[in-house]
Symmetry: C2
Subunit: 114 residues, 2 copies
Amino acid sequence: MADCLFCRIVKREIPAVIVHETETTLAFRDINPKAPVHVLVIPKEHIDALIRLEKRHAPLLGDIHETIQEVARMEKVDTTGFRVIVNNGPDAGQAVSHLHYHVLGQRHLGWPPG
Amino acid sequence: MADCLFCRIVKREIPAVIVHETETTLAFRDINPKAPVHVLVIPKEHIDALIRLEKRHAPLLGDIHETIQEVARMEKVDTTGFRVIVNNGPDAGQAVSHLHYHVLGQRHLGWPPG
């Protein structure tokens, strides 16, 4: 989508600190980090939100989770621990209408999660 | 795993308020809810944590996300919004070593997420 912030990051039209990339996914640092490690993992394909995922996206979900694991290892939080968050819609405060998985770590993460 | 709490819920050896079930997934209410809607979605297969997912699990990830969507619709948070959280390891406070996706909704969810 031409006017989607994350699609524009995928196309390198807007800068971002990219930490990992695969054929189908991109991982970059959140510009407003809430932990020492705060990376966003997105599919390159534009999908509005988690609720819009379709059956055909199962392989893509595999890719996304593989990228999350790779980010966790690269950021050295794979053993200390990390939290993955997906916000869907208004009550969750979804800020960009392009599916994204937040990966937070390198500090204790409290409960409840917001 | 014989001594895993969530495997025992799958086998109906321990009671839980089950809200949805598929061939590969189970959804039940968190016993210590942090929002009016707080459901856990798990794979029936025992997987310790998100970091332990393998390539072969892609179809299962599709099933898990489909169950999350179904729970969101059943609990009527599909339009108002919901947050999905996966805790992996100590820093995130992962309480049960069986992969589980928290689904929270029916209230405003703050930021940071813990």
